[in-house]
């Protein structure tokens, strides 16, 4: 085996990591920091689930409980889910997948990690100084005139981290435009790249609106006067419009990259080209576009006009079409494939199943009348956790496994990985499926006490959450173990077709040893092994 220098090698001083411009090292920096925030956010929700184990408010005070779910939301949304796949896997893989030596703006890439860290510092300050209790939605006038918690620090953290998202998005878009290697036409891009491209576009177009909304909210809190203040004839619903103009597309920021990961993994482990590649790419773009026009479905009972509600409801049904296409196409990709159940595939199939359920229940919430009863109950909580946790987090962890050999040069222990994947799937369903029923029964969200008749389902949910916790902690151990003890990985352990597998594992500092690869056909040129196939 020839020894190729890898991006991990060389001088191992801390400075070489903190001042690196190598997209792969920056991806690792992100990986480490989002993992930290993930577990802080998870700890917060562990307290919440512990409290909800019984109907009485016996573990936490109401104030602490409110801060716990607020911190959970803020950290998980902005410091974990949004950067998760784009800033780690995206950062690492996009140059490799399109045959480039780095992102278009390597220094900007490092800067965006520092901005992320700064935003995280603000938020951690808000947490340690006593917490914030507005929920992640910062609804006015509660956030402006009524909350006594650290709203400024938390909003500042979210504001700052937004710039990190914007810079990452900008970098990815420019990279995909300008640094594709020879022969890498737009319709030869892997779907992961398509997904990240669309995600980046959303980041660029939605995040600034959130930033300005937070500025308006904070000024209102600071000066005691503002446009969201009903006492002045302002409109609190305007805040909701501006907020959801960002925060609904933000859901697609979280799910599109996950769809990208699933597409890569499912084709690879069914040894089949993706079914309907072009349709899949168009579906991604359609989701990104229509996803911007549906935000009002968060406001069907808010006092929004009935007519606007109808427009938003219809558009919400429309955005479900491309999502449905994707699920069908993944399923069809399995047809006449040669299916291997390696851990990444289990994660990816788990993603498809959970996304399917999350998506179908989303239709309930898009239907105007049904939403009236279900909104602001546990039905909504369950729905978006199926999408964001069952969907995005499953896919993210699956992606980490799939590219782990490429990132670290080591193989992870397959048995434990499969075990964790299955545990995650079952733990997840046990945690969140009862919440659908709770929602239909009318249990409102964000309560630390509840009526005793809801207790059985809450106990089930809390029990599931503890399984889920084990499933999330397990990979820390076995992946950590594999860093030192894992089998060394070859360049292409999965026999996959992407350009990232054409270079050594882990890749050299400039990604490809000497020349950049050239591409002469589309991605996913898989064939099921004919020797296995023929009858």
């Amino acid at each position: 085996m020839t020894v190729t220098p890898s991006y991990l090698g060389g001088v191992r001083r801390l400075r070489d990591w903190l001042l690196t411009r190598d997209h792969k090292r920056i991806a690792i920096l992100y990986l480490v920091s989002i993992t930290v925030f993930f577990f802080v956010g998870a700890l917060a929700i562990a307290l919440v689930r512990l409290e909800l184990f019984t109907p009485e408010g016996d573990v936490l005070t109401a104030e602490t409980y409110n801060k716990a779910f607020s911190v959970h939301g803020i950290l998980m949304v902005w410091f974990f889910l949004i950067p998760s796949i784009p800033a780690t896997l995206g950062n690492f893989l996009i140059p490799l997948m399109i045959g480039a030596r780095d992102l278009a703006f390597p220094r900007l890439n490092l800067l965006s990690w520092y901005i992320y860290t700064l935003g995280g510092a603000f938020t951690l300050y808000a947490l340690l100084a006593g917490g914030v209790d507005t929920g992640w939605t910062f609804y006015t006038p509660y956030s402006t005139f009524f909350s006594n918690s650290h709203v400024f620090a938390a909003a500042a953290g979210v504001f700052v981290v937004g710039f990190s998202s914007i810079l990452t998005g900008l970098n990815i878009v420019v990279t995909v435009h300008t640094l594709r290697t020879r022969g890498m036409h737009w319709f030869r891009l892997p779907l992961f790249v398509w997904a990240l491209y669309a995600t980046s576009a959303i980041l660029l177009l939605a995040t600034p609106v959130l930033a300005m909304t937070l500025v308006l909210m904070a000024s209102e809190r600071l000066f005691g006067v503002g446009i969201f203040d009903p006492a002045l004839g302002g409109d609190p619903l305007l805040f909701q419009h501006l907020f959801w103009f960002y925060s609904h597309p933000a859901v697609y920021i979280m799910i599109l990259p996950a769809m990208g990961v699933a597409s890569e993994v499912i084709t690879c482990f069914s040894r089949n080209p993706i079914f309907g590649y072009r349709m899949m790419a168009y579906a991604i773009l359609a989701i990104a576009l229509i996803g911007f026009m549906v935000w009002g479905h968060h406001m069907f009972t808010s006092g929004q006009s009935m007519y606007a509600g109808m427009v938003f409801s219809l558009l919400s049904f429309l955005v479900a079409i491309p999502s449905a296409i994707k699920v069908f196409n993944w399923t069809a990709t399995l047809y006449r494939g040669e299916i291997h159940f390696d851990a990444p595939m289990i994660y990816a199939l788990g993603f498809v199943g959970l996304f399917l359920i999350g998506g179908l229940t989303g239709l309930f919430l898009a239907a105007l009348a049904l939403d009236v009863h279900l909104t602001d109950t546990y039905f909504v909580i369950s729905h978006f956790h199926y999408i964001m946790v069952g969907g995005s987090v499953m896919a993210y962890i699956g992606g980490i496994h799939f590219w782990w050999p490429k990132i670290t040069g080591r193989r992870y222990p397959e048995f434990w990985a499969r075990f964790a994947a299955l545990l995650m799937f079952f733990g997840f369903n046990l945690t969140f499926f009862p919440q659908y029923i709770l929602g239909y029964l009318g249990m409102p969200r964000r309560v630390h006490e509840y009526a005793p008749e809801f207790s059985v389902l809450n106990v089930l949910s809390s029990a599931g959450a503890s399984l889920l916790a084990v499933a999330y902690i397990l990979p820390l151990f076995y992946l950590g173990w594999s860093l030192r003890k894992g089998r060394r990985a070859t360049a292409n352990p999965w026999n996959a077709t992407g350009l990232e597998w054409r270079t050594s594992s882990p890749p050299p500092p400039l990604n490809f040893a000497e020349q950049l690869p050239e591409v002469s056909e589309g991605p996913y040129a898989y064939d099921p092994d004919p020797q296995r196939g023929h009858l």
Partner: protein
């Protein structure tokens, strides 16, 4: 190393990246693309304010008319002229840099920065007058006549919008000054117009924002 990948699919080519495309051209393209993306982001950043303005104005039409009448149209118009002129000088600087006349480019940049400072000076004067007239919501707001609430919202938005604009301009002036100095010292010399062009794009964008702010804040209804 045994490599199981089917090598027929993707072949390595002997040409290096630089031979594929001119790297300098590609860098310029990337920079322009990045700048325009940034400006699209900025459009939505200030755009959220414009949207808020529109929606609040619909509910308080009278307050906005009366509020707008309290702004200083003479200073506002003067400032608009100053800023439009600064865009001209910035465009001339970019034009000079394109033909490698770095000295001239640097001079035009200096003039641009000075015009920017004049704009901020006049804006500061306006703010002072607004303070004296008690038009600063939350801190010193003593409006005359009716429609106090609508006017307060108008002035809240007025300060948010002009404030965000002034902040952008302030950053722009710093950058323009820095680039002028770099050109003076011979760094960023001939044959490298891209950085100045991108600087120009930013400057003009700030100008375009003002072009819309001006009628919305100063010219609502003067009669």
């Amino acid at each position: 190393m045994k490599d199981p990948t089917p090598t027929t699919r993707i072949r390595n080519v002997a040409t290096s990246e630089s031979e594929v495309r001119d790297p300098l051209r590609r860098q310029e393209h990337a920079a322009a693309l990045g700048m325009w993306l940034f400006l699209a982001t900025e459009t939505l950043f200030v755009g959220a304010l414009f949207a808020a303005y529109l929606l609040v104005r619909i509910t308080h039409p009278q307050g906005f008319i009366l509020g707008s009448r309290e702004t200083d149209i003479v200073l506002g118009t003067l400032n608009t002229a100053v800023l439009l002129t600064s865009s001209l000088t910035m465009a001339l600087a970019v034009d000079r840099q394109r033909v490698d006349m770095t000295r001239a480019a640097s001079r035009w940049l200096m003039i641009t920065a000075v015009l920017g400072l004049i704009f901020l000076g006049i804006k500061g004067l306006e703010y002072t007058l607004d303070w004296r007239h008690g038009l600063v919501p939350g801190l010193h707001f003593e409006p005359v006549g009716g429609q106090a609430r609508g006017m307060e919202l108008f002035f809240f938005l007025y300060f948010m919008m002009t404030g965000v604009h002034a902040l952008h301009l302030f950053l722009g002036i710093g950058l323009v000054g820095a680039f002028a100095a770099m050109l003076q010292r011979g760094r960023l010399g001939a044959g490298n117009p891209a950085p100045i062009e991108n600087l120009g794009l930013y400057w003009h964008f700030v100008d375009v924002v003002w072009i819309f702010l001006f009628p919305l804040l100063y010219l609502v209804h003067r009669t």
